[in-house]
Symmetry: C2
DNA sequence: GAGGATTTGCAAACGATTTGCAACGGCCAA
DNA sequence: TTGGCCGTTGCAAATCGTTTGCAAATCCTC
């Protein structure tokens, strides 16, 4: 099926983790949508009502640890998840202050910037990733 | 006393809000430290044990609404607060993936960037603020 | 200092997330 | 293909940070 899912399945196997129905379905949901989803939303979209909400949480934890998904915290109480950079590409988000709508920005405003220079004194710091959200209207 | 606190007090008054002991002490804590604090930490540092944790939450809400403090969500369960841009200047944070230590970066890697250009299609979006955190070691 | 409006302390409610545990189901070896 | 082991799940209860209702305390204006 979808090549990303195959890649991820292989990755799970390599990490010694089982390929189970909850995990597969959570991934199916995440690959099917274009924007970050709350856990509750992911759970609701699973084809299978037998799957428990806590299994979704556990799957997302595992995926996050294996860098399969990215977790976003946008200020309302709930975390949002989307496929990680390796599967959806590096991008950032516009968050509307008024209605809360979220949109992707594929061009990274940091590209070409020498982050090391910006750090200055804290040169001992090796940047591994960054999180950038733009808020507005 | 500290000029920032006077400014903020004036601002509260202008907004029709009272200058009360909990609010003053929360501000005193925030102006005294250089890094973002969790609500629980702020509460612990108040000189006065009579002040209730929920008053700290309420004070921080008010301050956040009036743009006196900034709220940071760094991925562990708890929000962190620090004085807002107008009082501490625009800056970002380094977050250590290993130990969780947080450090300020005063140079903004976005300065001089035309965010509008980076947005591309979503030109209808007016960026009012941005949040950038750098993760690494 | 008195009056009325705001704010506080307290304790209970809340929503998101995590956890213990017994039943279950992938996965590998036979 | 089957058997069985060990990781995984469903379920319900616990936890955590945060919010809220309400009566009492505090602030601000006069
Ligand atoms: Mn996205
Ligand atoms: Mn800071
Ligand atoms: Zn970027
Ligand atoms: Zn900046």
């Amino acid at each position: 099926m979808i090549p990303e899912i195959d890649r991820i399945r292989t990755l799970l196997t390599a990490a010694g983790c089982a390929w189970t129905r909850p995990r597969a379905q959570v991934l199916a949901v995440l690959t099917a949508v274009a924007h970050p989803l709350r856990v509750e939303e992911i759970h609701r979209r699973l084809g299978d009502p037998r799957i428990n909400l806590s299994s979704v949480y556990r799957a997302l934890h595992l995926f996050h640890r294996l860098n399969v998904v990215r977790r976003l915290l946008l200020g309302d109480g709930a975390a949002r998840y989307e496929l990680a950079e390796a599967y959806r590409g590096h991008h950032h988000h516009l968050v509307c202050d008024a209605c809360g709508r979220i949109e992707d920005v594929s061009r990274c405003p940091l590209e070409g910037r020498d982050l090391g220079a910006a750090l200055g004194a804290a040169a001992a710091f090796a940047v591994r990733s960054h999180s950038l959200e733009l808020f507005g209207l």
